[in-house]
Symmetry: C3
Subunit: 260 residues, 3 copies
């Protein structure tokens, strides 16, 4: 039997927003340590890794490991039926082909339950090596989302250039070139601060489209962390309040010899 209770159904809504444009279906692996999801996006370009720790839930019980394959469009319809501040409980019997979501309104006069059919999905678990990154940038997630949205208008790629002074995001296309420079903040304590831990300057180029999809997770956290090293996938991480994180991995574009 699996049963997990979360105080704020809104967290589930935001998690779905963070993955639903990358994945149409996904398997949530539930163990006694928590819930994990790991999957390549539909085009097999980027990797999504979601981790929700058991201790982050109000109550959590998982007698046997369960893998729940869900259609994310169906999940979206069910999550539309709850308010952000409903209490939500997810339940499944061992070896069940159904997961149940129970939503309780804060005034307790409305209780809804939704049964969703589960799917068997192929899964391949990818080992993600722990890496020491040459550069780690922490910045407001809204600022990150905005820079990506703005520059995506210009070109299919965005170049991240990190130095002690700050990060420069650049994109070039038919209509011209855009550069957005975000300076390292003088005060590092504010939640609006941009901070940079730098072993060496890094310049990497990524596909605008995927960066834009990662930025959909901005609702989950006020802060985003970008970890970069030469020739290694970028990691974009959003913490999920007290319970876990979602991370996206995206390989940099390799420039041709002639610089194109």
């Amino acid at each position: 039997m699996f049963e997990a209770k979360l105080q704020q159904a809104g967290t589930l809504k935001k998690i779905l927003d963070a993955i639903k444009e990358l994945l149409t279906e996904a398997t949530f692996d539930c163990t006694d340590s928590g819930i994990q999801l790991q999957a390549m996006d539909n085009s097999h370009v980027s990797l999504v890794s979601l981790n929700l720790r058991a201790d982050g839930f109000e109550t959590y019980r998982c007698d046997r490991n369960v893998s729940m394959g869900m259609n994310l469009t169906s999940l979206g319809k069910i999550l539309k039926c709850c308010s952000a501040d409903d209490v939500v409980t997810m339940k499944a019997q061992d070896a069940a082909d159904i997961v149940t979501f129970v939503f309780e309104a804060s005034n307790q006069e409305r209780v809804s339950d939704f049964d969703m059919k589960l799917m068997n999905l192929d899964q391949e678990h990818l080992g993600i090596p722990e890496t020491d990154y040459a550069c780690v940038v922490k910045m407001p997630s809204a600022e990150f989302a905005r820079v990506i949205r703005d520059l995506s208008q210009f070109g299919e790629s965005i170049t991240f250039s990190c130095s002690k002074a700050g990060v420069k995001f650049s994109s070039t296309g038919d209509i011209g070139t855009g550069n957005v420079k975000v300076a390292q903040s003088s005060s590092v304590d504010s939640k609006d601060a941009t901070t940079i831990e730098l072993q060496e300057p890094v310049t990497l180029t990524f596909a605008s489209r995927y960066l834009g999809l990662f930025a959909k997770a901005s609702g989950l956290s006020e802060r985003v962390q970008l970890s970069m090293s030469p020739e290694v996938p970028l990691v974009v991480e959003f913490k999920i309040n007290d319970i876990g994180y979602v991370r996206y991995y995206l390989a940099p574009k390799i420039e041709d010899d002639d610089g194109n």
Copy 2:
């Protein structure tokens, strides 16, 4: 000569919102007791009944009975031209083929008048028998609209099950099953209360699509009243502040012998 004046043009806008997706054209019957509209929806499945009492208007005069057939799309264009707090006057000469709407802004610097051509529409008046219902539910109209919207995502039908404890709304479809239980409120005085007057428990199933169209009337009133008896059409009633009501009638679905 017919002339009726209403302090708040917004009431007319909301009445139109409540019927315009069910009816493309409608005849407003004006007598010295008020204005009435009764019509089957475009697909001849549900019945709409609107009643505006003469004494609910600021001023009201109707020398001879007039039947004004209106195209509701045209009426919508005219009502877009007034503000919710404009004073509105409707006027027609006896046997006229035109109705005039006059809108006066509260600051009195803008006065607009719109002449709309009337239409001759076929009409059949249906006797609606007064019935004693087995179950009458009163609940917040926003809550009703929300339940219908949520469950309409799942299936083409929604089942209403009423008992002393509360009302359960259910729907089943390809992705699974949803149940929303609204409990009878302990305090019945609040405008957010759900109250149930029950002669006998009732379980009836209705087409989601029509329930969704009725719920468009939620803007008219904070409360909705659902009256149900076995094998008899559901009545969904929204009071219109001090002036009348709009009621919708919808026959329950008959289940096949095999339960489908």
Copy 3:
């Protein structure tokens, strides 16, 4: 070298909103007295005239006259990248084929620059004779926009009838006729006042579509000025706070002998 700095990038955004549906491309003529744009709309029916005085900018320098032909869709993409309260600087070298926009966020932690390719556009400068108008109406621009939007639903033309008492806007079409009467205000000092300077009563008819496009400039100014004389183009003018104006010219429709 050309360089002009504006405290509020929002002003540029609103100017673009005021012209982008009339023009797809436009030439901004920069001289030491300021920036001017004059162009027939895409269908060669109306004329747009924009004037931004050098002294209205925070700093302004123009060593040699420059004509900058811009694609307004591209300009729109660039202006999407700034906040309304960013400081914006436009720069171009003499005889350059590129213009640079620099946006500085008020917290100074983000600086963006965008290079846009310029275009060579054919230009014909039209002499606009200074005229003494028979009637000049000043009214709130939001009210003007609203009247035009409302009446555009009815017919392709809107008739403006100006007298001492006020202005009547009228339109007739398939569904009927609409008249909106805006009275001259008793108090003329309020920014909501409608005032009329009248040499002689004027009645003129204009194409709804173009009036609607001019009304897009309402964001630029709380007030609009309509100048009319018989058989002469209407002038619709919106002041741009302390820096200039945008004016639209539209010839009245000529009625046929039989009144159609």
